[in-house]
Symmetry: none
């Protein structure tokens, strides 16, 4: 119901199915609150049988999170490379982000909620990817300020506000909602660009 496994690096159908099951359970009961038995049960399989296809539970979390981190970063790179204005770049990011969250709420939950249960190098790798993404976002905002589209402001806080608004959507945004994700993204961008104040 929720991962993004296409293109190069695609795993066997089995692994994909396990990752999907794990994504669902991790989203619902958390990484440490989910047992391998739970994941197996989700697939009609015994816990031990999972190890035919995977190496460890942490591998599952890492695969889910790292896959998302990577494609998120790739999207940021594409946006940065495009010839759009800063405002259009942010709009693109918001739209894509919300579309993806609505389509993959479980994966989003794991990505924003459970990633921190990774350990050591894997944790650092994800942190670094997130940091690069954040830097990209700030660069866009800074460019907006530089070219006079945005007022002078604290770029770091602006970025955190943007991210906070967008990332928290995984808590409530569902594919069957009555509002179109593009509409929501538009509204959020409008809030951020022009504010609530009348006149």
């Amino acid at each position: 119901m929720s991962t993004t496994n296409t293109g190069p690096g695609a795993q066997s159908r089995h692994v994909t199915a396990i990752l999907d099951a794990a994504t669902r359970r991790f989203a619902q009961t958390g990484y440490h609150g989910t047992s391998m038995r739970d994941i197996g049960a989700e697939m009609g399989m015994h816990a031990g049988s999972l190890y035919v296809h995977i190496r460890s539970k942490e591998d599952l979390l890492d695969a889910i999170v790292w896959d998302i981190a990577q494609s998120t970063e790739r999207r940021m790179e594409a946006v940065l490379a495009a010839g759009d204005t800063p405002v259009d770049k942010l709009r693109t990011i918001a739209e894509e982000h919300l579309r993806w969250v609505a389509a993959n709420p479980d994966a989003a939950t794991v990505y924003f909620h459970e990633w921190r249960h990774l350990k050591g190098e894997r944790l650092e790798r994800v942190k670094a990817a997130r940091a690069r993404w954040t830097r990209g976002l700030r660069d866009i905002i800074q460019a907006g300020i530089d070219e006079g589209a945005f007022k002078p402001m604290d770029v770091r806080l602006a970025g955190l506000a943007f991210v906070g608004m967008l990332n928290s959507t995984y808590r409530w945004l569902r594919p069957d909602g009555d509002l179109d994700t593009a509409e929501i993204a538009g509204t959020f961008m409008d809030f951020l660009l022009h504010g609530w104040a009348a006149g």
Copy 2:
């Protein structure tokens, strides 16, 4: 480092110390990722000794979360009862919220991150309290629209944007940051009221 146990209903010093230790560990490794031994170790105590003072691990999570939920709700009631304008009410909420998050980052993390590991009635109780808080927030925003301070807009999305911005601060806001929490709250309110757009 993190609870809010003052006034009536205050527990014994022992229980308070255990709740603080639990708050720290739950914030760092999550509820299911924290063992009673971890909490005991944090206090230089054996896991079993904790049970002289508490009844169960879930009691700890509940005590931490419910205490915050209640005082959060009480603050909302006070704000709603005050004679301020909607804008001032939101400003008060933002300021108090950020001040509390900065002062209690661990408690905030548990409150926003781990509450969902509660079960049954306790979970429902917290959900209901959060829903009442959200309703209060929307009432303020709606009042702002009604009296012409805000433009007409989707109240639900506006509330979610506000909450998303504020609640995500527990991920980065620390007491030793260089920026004053009141300043940050002011900047966030400015973003929300007037937007980033220049001119």
Copy 3:
């Protein structure tokens, strides 16, 4: 060494082995005095490994006790249905009972000693089965009185005397004893029918 698992409803060989080990330990040190580690040790297994085959410690006690309760009841039904005289029925019951106790002293000990540690519905179920058995016994004695084989007497006390004599055998009757169980049963029946008094 001691259960009666034949016929339909027979468990896997593993479960049977665990039940046998549990029967031995429960008989020796009592239900609450036996740990899952003890049962595991009896089988050269770790305590946790038992849970591959069973669900709980109480399940073990229930399986042991309920299995005996059922077959005991079935035997009573068969005896009641047979065309024998009351005296012959009692004789059959005594003989079968002592033969079973001698062959399964551990199971008998658990059945007569540890059944009360069952809880809730399981306890009630066993109590009810025992009550039905007792009622059967009284019916036989009453029939004996009615047809003039026995003198008029308090049926309840007669039943309790019979049961007390029979059931207490689990404390001393062992398969390797020098006396044949049929002989012992015969002697007991003779005591009960004609008494010790000379002449």
Copy 4:
């Protein structure tokens, strides 16, 4: 509700109260199924406070059981020393036994059910006392045979039948029963002496 602490060797009022509480709980949930907390709760005391008066849990079981074992043995000695006929001796034993069981059902339950959880020397001491009692009983029966009151029979089985009948009364005999204990003892003796058979 149930011990027999009079005469020499009487303990402090506190110890007596603890022994009574322990007797009640041991009877209901068994020795290993009863915690010191349970016993304390029965007295409105903390578990630790019991140790002001006693030395260990096993001491409690031993005190309860050994006290009964001793007075039981003393009674047997008195009966043996009396000038009665064997039949009268048995009758006295039965009457006293049932009267005591009816008056002290909890103590009786512990004595007949839980004594085996004693360990080492204490266990042996109780076993020996019971063996001496049994020998006394057999001597009486043998005397009855020798003087022609009883038919020739297996003394050991006769003793076991007598004991089985009497000792099992702790399972059902209660002080508030409608039948007088003397009556019940009389009926049991009649069963044993003259049997059920009519004519």
